[in-house]
C-alpha cells in the first residue's frame, strides 16, 4: 500500500514542481497580510487549470480576508469537493457561512456526508490503482477456482472471488462517483451581494425571491446568459454572472 502511495505521489510530483512557485508566493503574500497579491498568485495557479484542496482552501482564506464572502464560500466548497475530509476547510466554511444572510437548510444527510468524508478523501487515482490490484487478485482467485480439483480449495477460492469482485466493483463505482463529483458542476455559489431569482430567463420576468451572497444553490439547466437554480425545492433563473460554479 505504501508503495502505491509513493507511486501516486510520484505521478503528482511533476505538476507540483510546476505550480510550486506561484503557490508559495501566494502563501508568502498571505503571511504578510498582502491579500491582493496572494489572490493574484493563487488565481494564476487556478488559471493554469491546476487544482488541489490546499490551493482552494488558501484561496478561500484570501477571499475571506478581502471580505468577499461569496467567493470565499465558493473556494471552500471547491476544496471540500476535492477532499471532503479537510477539517480546516470544513471549519472555515462553517465560520464564513455564519456570516451569510440566507439561512437555508442545504446540509446533506448525515450518511451521505459521512460517506463523502471517508471515501472521497482518497484520490481518485488511488482507487484506480487499487482496483487494478484487486483485478489481479480476482484473476488469480478465479484461476484457482476453475482449475483446482480439491473441493476445499474450490469453495474457498469461490467465496474469495466473490468478495474480491464485490470490492472491485465498489472501487470502480467509487472512483467513478468521485470523478464525476469533482468534474461535474452541480452546484454554485452566489457571489454578488444579492440576486433576484426570476421565474423565467429574462430581465423582465417577475422576481420570485431573493438570494444573498454566499448562498449555495443547485444548478438545473441553462439558457444563454441565464441559469436555472434550485434552493430548498424552489427554482428560478439567475444571470450566470451572479454565480460561480463549484
Amino acid at each position: 500500500m505504501k508503495v502505491l502511495f509513493l507511486f501516486i505521489a510520484f505521478i503528482f510530483t511533476a505538476a507540483t514542481f510546476a505550480q510550486d512557485s506561484s503557490f508559495v508566493r501566494g502563501n508568502e503574500a498571505y503571511a504578510n497580510s498582502d491579500f491582493e497579491t496572494a489572490l493574484s498568485e493563487y488565481t494564476k495557479v487556478v488559471g493554469s487549470e491546476q487544482m488541489s484542496t490546499e490551493l482552494y482552501y488558501n484561496l478561500g482564506n484570501t477571499y475571506f480576508k478581502l471580505d468577499q464572502i461569496g467567493e470565499a464560500i465558493w473556494a471552500y466548497e471547491k476544496a471540500l469537493k476535492i477532499d471532503p475530509s479537510n477539517q480546516n476547510a470544513q471549519f472555515n466554511l462553517k465560520f464564513v457561512n455564519s456570516k451569510t444572510y440566507d439561512d437555508l437548510d442545504t446540509a446533506e444527510s448525515g450518511i451521505v456526508t459521512w460517506l463523502k468524508i471517508n471515501l472521497f478523501s482518497f484520490s481518485i487515482n488511488f482507487w484506480a490503482y487499487l482496483s487494478i490490484l484487486f483485478a489481479f487478485i480476482l484473476a488469480i482467485a478465479l484461476y484457482f477456482f476453475f482449475t483446482t480439483k480439491k473441493q476445499k480449495v474450490k469453495n474457498r477460492s469461490l467465496s474469495f472471488s466473490f468478495g474480491t469482485l464485490f470490492l472491485l466493483v465498489f472501487m470502480i463505482l467509487l472512483a467513478y462517483l468521485n470523478k464525476s463529483n469533482i468534474i461535474d458542476r452541480a452546484h454554485a455559489v452566489i457571489v454578488t451581494e444579492f440576486v433576484e431569482v426570476r421565474s423565467s430567463p429574462s430581465d423582465t420576468a417577475p422576481s420570485g425571491f431573493k438570494l444573498h451572497e454566499g448562498t449555495k444553490v443547485d444548478l438545473l439547466r441553462s439558457s444563454d446568459d441565464w441559469i436555472e437554480v434550485g434552493v430548498n425545492e424552489n427554482t428560478g433563473w439567475v444571470e450566470k454572472t451572479s454565480i460561480w460554479e463549484i
Binding site: 484520490s123 490503482y129 472512483a175
Partner: protein, 565 residues
C-alpha cells in the same frame, strides 16, 4: 393703621430662640400697568431696630403703610423657635410708563446697618402686562449645567407661591432619558416652607425634591417638566388646588476623554479598590474567599457586577454583594464589597489576575486606573478527589490559517481512472486468467478418439526416443539390453498405434492390421523380418552388426508406418 411719613419703631416683644436680624422689601408684582395699584412691603424679623422708609423713585404712595405682626413658633426636634415678623404695607402706583427703582430699605440696629435689595418696577401701557401666572410656579434648577458623562449633579425642584401652601398632594417626575437620578431625601415626609424674594416679589418657597443625577450619555440630555399639585387655603373653610408644571432642564454632557478604552466602565469620580483573600495555599476542592472592595465617590451605581478572570480549573460562583453606599449631593459615596467564592478543581500554581478598572478622575480631569495585585494560589493535590475533565473549547473568532504545503496539484486530465489504459489494466488480468482457464479446460475435457489420435501421433516420437536409448546401449556393447529395448519399443509403438493391449499383440495380428491399413507389402515384409530377427535373437545371440542393422531398419520402418497409419 397709622399713617406716618418717616417712622421709628420701638416695639418690645419677647423674642425666644434665635434668628438673624434681616430686612426684606417686596412688591406684589414688578411688572405693572400705568396707574395700577400694587403693594410694597417691608418685612423685618425683629423688633429692636430702626427701619427707614425707602425712596420710592417717583412712584406715588396711594395708601399705607399698614403694619402687621405675626408670631410663628415652631418646634423642631424638641427645640422651640419663635419668629416674629413685622410687616409694613404700602399701596403704590406709577403715573407714567417707564422704569422705576425702589431703593433698598435700610435697617439700623444700633450702628449695624442692613440694606435690602432695591426693586425695579417696569410700568407698561395698560393691557400690555403679561398675564402669565406669576403667583404659582415651579422651577427646576441644577448646580451644574455642563457636566462630564457620569459626573454627579444635583437638581432641585422648588415651588414658588404667593400664598402659603396648605398641603402637598402629588408629584410626578418628568421623563429623563439618559439620566440616572436618585432622590437625596427619599424618606422625607414633611416639607419646609420658606420665604424668598424674587425680583422684589415675595414668595413662599418649598423645595419639593432634591435629586442627584448622572448623565449616562454625552450630548444634551433633558429633564422633562415635573408636575406638582398643591392645596392652598382660600379662607378658613375653603381650599383650592393648584397644578403646576416646571420648566424643562437641559444639561450639556461632555464626553470623557479616552472613554473608548476597554477597561473604562464609565465610572467618574474618585475610587480605590482593595482586596482580601482567605488563603493562598489550599487543597483541591477547598473554597477560597476573595473579597474585592471598591471604595469611592461618584457614580457607583454604574459599577454593576464585576467579574474575576478565574482560570477554567476553578469553579466560580456569583459574588455576594454588600452595598454600603449612601446618596449625597456630590454623588454616591461609600463602598461596595464583592465576595467571591472560588473552588479549585485541579492542583497547581494558578494566578487569578487582580481586578482593575479605569475611572475618570474629576479633580484632575484624567483617566486613572485602580487595581489590586494578582492572586497567586497554590493548590495541592487531594488524593481522595477525582478530577473532572475540563472541556476545552476553541474560540471561534477567526478562520483557520492557510496551508503552507500542498499535497499535490493535478489537472482533470491527470485522472488515471477512466482512461483506456486504466480499463485495459483492470481487465487484462481477468482476460489472461480466463485464457489460461480455457486452455486448461480444453485439455481436461478431451475425448477418447482425440486422445487416441494424439497418442497415435505421439507413438513414433516415443519410439524414436526409445530407439536412441537402444542405440546408446549398442554402442556400449550391451547387446542383450539393446535387443530387449528394441522389442519393447516396437511393442509400445504398435500398442499406441493400434490402441491395443500387449496380449493382443502378435506378429500375425500386426501384419493383418498393417495389410488393412494399406501398408505396402514391402514394409510388411520388412516388419516380419525385423520381428523374426528379434524373436530369433531371444534364443540365439545375434551378431552385433546385424543388431545394428535391425535397429536402423526398425527406425526406418516406424517412420514409414507412421506416415501410412
Amino acid at each position: 393703621m397709622k399713617r406716618i411719613g418717616v417712622f421709628i419703631l420701638f416695639v418690645c416683644c419677647i423674642q425666644l430662640g434665635f434668628g438673624q436680624k434681616t430686612v426684606q422689601s417686596t412688591v406684589s408684582s414688578n411688572q405693572v400697568a400705568a396707574m395700577e395699584v400694587f403693594e410694597f412691603q417691608i418685612i423685618v424679623n425683629n423688633n429692636d431696630c430702626n427701619v427707614l422708609q425707602p425712596d420710592f423713585g417717583g412712584l406715588t404712595v396711594a395708601g399705607g403703610p399698614q403694619s402687621s405682626q405675626s408670631n410663628n413658633i415652631s418646634i423642631v426636634n424638641g427645640q422651640r423657635t419663635q419668629n416674629t415678623e413685622l410687616i409694613w404695607t404700602y399701596q403704590l402706583r406709577a403715573k407714567e410708563v417707564g422704569s422705576y427703582i425702589i431703593s433698598g430699605v435700610t435697617m439700623d440696629c444700633g450702628g449695624e446697618t442692613q440694606v435690602s435689595e432695591p426693586i425695579e418696577i417696569t410700568v407698561s401701557e395698560e393691557g400690555q402686562v403679561s398675564k402669565v401666572d406669576q403667583d404659582y410656579y415651579m422651577r427646576l434648577t441644577t448646580n451644574k449645567s455642563s457636566v462630564y458623562q457620569g459626573e454627579p449633579f444635583t437638581v432641585t425642584l422648588k415651588y414658588y407661591s404667593k400664598s402659603r401652601p396648605d398641603s402637598f398632594e402629588a408629584l410626578d417626575l418628568g421623563d429623563a432619558v439618559g439620566i440616572y437620578r436618585q432622590d437625596l431625601k427619599p424618606d422625607r415626609t414633611s416639607f419646609q416652607t420658606n420665604m424668598e424674594s424674587i425680583n422684589g416679589v415675595r414668595y413662599y418657597t418649598i423645595v419639593l425634591r432634591e435629586e442627584v443625577c448622572f448623565a449616562q450619555r454625552s450630548g444634551e440630555v433633558k429633564l422633562q417638566p415635573y408636575y406638582a399639585s398643591l392645596l392652598f387655603r382660600r379662607d378658613f373653610f375653603n381650599q383650592f388646588r393648584k397644578e403646576t408644571y416646571s420648566n424643562t432642564l437641559s444639561i450639556d454632557v461632555k464626553k470623557i476623554p479616552g472613554s473608548s478604552s476597554l477597561d473604562f466602565t464609565g465610572l467618574v469620580g474618585e475610587f480605590s479598590v482593595t482586596s482580601e483573600i482567605s488563603s493562598n495555599h489550599v487543597l483541591m476542592g477547598d473554597a477560597i474567599d476573595i473579597k474585592i472592595t471598591i471604595d469611592g465617590k461618584g457614580n457607583m451605581q454604574d459599577l454593576g457586577l464585576i467579574e474575576l478572570d478565574v482560570p477554567e480549573e476553578f469553579d466560580q460562583y456569583d459574588p455576594e454583594i454588600e452595598d454600603k453606599t449612601s446618596v449625597s449631593s456630590t454623588g454616591i459615596k461609600g463602598k461596595i464589597e464583592y465576595n467571591f467564592v472560588v473552588i479549585p478543581k485541579h492542583y497547581g500554581k494558578y494566578t487569578i489576575p487582580g481586578y482593575s478598572f479605569q475611572y475618570f478622575d474629576l479633580k484632575n480631569k484624567k483617566m486613572k486606573t485602580a487595581q489590586v495585585d494578582d492572586f497567586i494560589i497554590q493548590v495541592d493535590k487531594r488524593e481522595s478527589m477525582e478530577i473532572d475533565p475540563i472541556k476545552t473549547e476553541l474560540a471561534n473568532t477567526d478562520i483557520q490559517y492557510i496551508e503552507e504545503n500542498s499535497s499535490g496539484f493535478f489537472e482533470q486530465d491527470d485522472f488515471f481512472f477512466g482512461t483506456w489504459t486504466y480499463y485495459g489494466l483492470v481487465s487484462s488480468p481477468l482476460l489472461i486468467s480466463f485464457f489460461f482457464i480455457f486452455i486448461r479446460q480444453k485439455k481436461e475435457n478431451i475425448s477418447d478418439e482425440e486422445l487416441l489420435v494424439l497418442q497415435q501421433k505421439k507413438a513414433v516420437k516415443n519410439a524414436q526416443t526409445a530407439l536412441k536409448v537402444v542405440k546408446a546401449n549398442l554402442e556400449q556393447g550391451k547387446d542383450a539390453e539393446a535387443l530387449k529395448g528394441l522389442q519393447t519399443t516396437l511393442n509400445k509403438f504398435f500398442m499406441e498405434k493400434f490402441n491395443v493391449g500387449l496380449s493382443d499383440l502378435s506378429q500375425r495380428k500386426i501384419a493383418e492390421r498393417l495389410t488393412t491399413g494399406n501398408v505396402e507389402n514391402e514394409s510388411i515384409e520388412k516388419f516380419n523380418k525385423i520381428w523374426n530377427a528379434i524373436e530369433m535373437g531371444q534364443y540365439a545371440p545375434i551378431a552385433h552388426e546385424n543388431l545394428v542393422l535391425t535397429v536402423n531398419d526398425t527406425e526406418g520402418l516406424l517412420i514409414e508406418l507412421d506416415k501410412k497409419l
